[in-house]
């Protein structure tokens, strides 16, 4: 573990929206192939932390270092860094004017400037991986939530990222569609992908999580092995929260 390279590093990160301080000093290191599960009550800053990790939000204090590159350095090309970080959102955010295949192809075509032929091969392979090869030509509004979310995962993977961020990606899904998305994520984790996963799916956390983080009011309250934290939470706030979600 100690030899694995650090993929994501947060040092004393503070983030405010106007007067409201949402992240109040976050320190976190994620090493290669780790699957860090983030839990915590609504409004505790989980999404904000994830969004800061790929510079969708600026921070006021602290440092965020992605694979050795300081995101907060004004000379850093954040677009380049974002290419290395895949992100999947709770609300899918597929491009509604494009088919599933086109959704997956867009960024490699325009950002990496690969040939259409090469990109299409990659994209079709990815749709096979997420079990949607027959939906390549469907538009998002013709897909179920679970299918849309799997396309969104394929879209992020098409950029061949070194790490993936998942923000409550199953929360908007009907219960019977949750498993198909989690299974794709499990396969990714088994393949060695570095992942930060905000989720309340404790089964998933137990099974594939290598570390669990409990956040509350903008700070990391507790951090340990997922099975350990779920079975024996140390902090009072963690106990209370787990008591509610389990």
């Amino acid at each position: 573990m100690s030899t694995a390279p650090t993929m994501i590093e947060l040092q004393g990160v503070h983030k405010s929206y106007g007067q409201l301080e949402v992240l109040r000093g976050i320190d976190l290191q994620v090493t290669k192939s780790e699957v860090v599960v983030v839990i915590g009550p609504s409004g505790s800053g989980k999404s904000t932390m994830l969004r800061c990790m790929n510079a969708l939000e600026p921070i006021q204090q602290g440092k965020i270092i992605i694979e050795g590159i300081d995101l907060t350095d004004s000379h850093t090309n954040v677009n380049k860094v974002r290419e290395k970080i895949g992100m999947v959102f709770q609300s899918f955010n597929l491009f509604p004017h494009k088919t599933a295949l086109e959704n997956v192809m867009l960024a490699p075509l325009k950002v990496q400037k690969k040939s259409r032929k090469e990109v299409e091969t990659i994209a079709r392979d990815l749709l096979v991986t997420v079990g949607l090869s027959e939906k390549a030509d469907s538009h998002p509004d013709q897909l179920s939530g679970g299918q849309q979310q799997r396309v969104a995962i394929a879209r992020a993977l098409a950029m061949q990222p070194d790490m993936m961020l998942f923000d409550e990606v199953t929360s908007a899904l009907d219960p019977e569609l949750v498993a198909e998305v989690l299974n794709v994520m499990k396969d990714l984790a088994l393949g060695g992908m570095t992942m930060v996963v905000v989720t309340h799916e404790m089964g998933f956390a137990r099974e594939v999580g290598t570390r669990m983080i409990f956040m509350d009011e903008g700070v990391i309250v507790e951090e340990s092995d997922p099975r350990e934290m779920i079975a024996n939470p140390k902090e009072e706030r963690t106990k209370k929260f787990l008591g509610m979600v389990l």
């Binding site: 969004r51 790929n54 969708l56 677009n79 380049k80 974002r82 290419e83 970080i85 895949g86 992100m87 959102f89 609300s91 899918f92 955010n93 597929l94 491009f95 509604p96 004017h97 867009l106 960024a107 325009k110 950002v111 998002p140 509004d141 939530g145 849309q148 969104a152 879209r155 992020a156 950029m159 908007a172």
Partner: protein
């Protein structure tokens, strides 16, 4: 009863003189190419100027935002008739006095310039509302894939926004058709100018009725089309919710003024 009949008879004599209608209609139809020229050129320029202005208005650069804001406010406030007068006579006077002859514009060029500058301001408002109606998650998803702001706008946000703004832009086009008639004040030989000329010759206002008839005839199909497009948009936006696409309130985009009143949905900047 008799006085009412007298009224009708007078109206018919002055406004629906059959002989004059027959003389005027072909005259007016012959001006359609010039009306079309004004329309198409003004539509083209105002579309692209409006698009650029709306992007400037949403830009990170304060100077751009300020310029576009000032432009839009100025031209939305300035009566179009005065715009015609300033661009035509105003520039010509400056041009003659200063020796900068290129400022003395042919009346058709002046008309296109006036219509374009004013309608660019309206279009900018429509585009801005259209862009802001696209859920911010679209921009975020695009940026998170490594696309630049420009790429995200071009490939993700604008293609969706264009669909949203087609109905309000159609409405603008209708208003533009009618506003080409203002070019008559700077002697462009378009439809209304020709009708007024004929009115002088026959000493009877019937040509104005013919002109009104032609304008209405050409605008009605577009009005129907705009209504249809709006309906379609309304029906189509229902399914978008889950994809984080268009927010659905866009069907309310009827005119530039309504567009300007729309709540800010996006915060599209990143």
């Amino acid at each position: 009863m008799e006085s009412l009949l007298n009224g009708f008879e007078a109206f018919q004599r002055y406004y629906l003189n059959w002989q004059i209608i027959q003389e005027t209609l072909p005259l007016l139809l012959r001006t359609l190419p010039i009306v079309g020229e004004l329309l198409i050129l003004s539509m083209f320029f105002s579309f692209f100027m409006g698009l650029v202005l709306s992007l400037m208005r949403l830009s990170h650069f304060r100077v751009f935002r300020w310029f576009a804001g000032a432009y839009v406010d100025f031209f939305r406030g300035l009566p179009l008739l005065l715009n015609f007068v300033f661009v035509y006579s105003g520039l010509a006077i400056v041009g003659a006095a200063s020796g900068l002859r290129f400022l003395i514009l042919p009346s058709v060029v002046a008309a296109v310039l006036s219509l374009s500058t004013t309608y660019a301001a309206y279009s900018a408002e429509v585009f801005r509302a259209g862009i802001e109606s696209i859920h911010r998650g679209q921009m975020e998803a695009a940026r998170s894939l490594g696309m630049t702001y420009g790429q995200s706008m071009r490939y993700v946000v604008l293609p969706q926004a264009i669909k949203v703004v087609i109905p309000p832009l159609t409405n603008e086009f209708i208003a533009l058709i009618k506003d080409t008639s203002l070019a008559s004040v700077i002697s462009v030989q378009e439809l209304l100018f020709t009708a007024k000329e004929k009115m002088g010759v026959v000493a009877n206002p019937t040509p104005l009725m013919v002109a009104a008839f032609v304008y209405v005839l050409f605008t009605i199909p577009l009005i129907r089309l705009a209504a249809r497009l709006e309906k379609k948009r309304e029906g189509g936006s229902k399914g978008d919710k889950t994809t984080g696409g268009s927010t659905g309130k866009t069907s309310a985009l009827i005119s530039a003024d309504i567009a300007a009143q729309l709540p800010k949905g996006g915060g599209i900047q990143l």
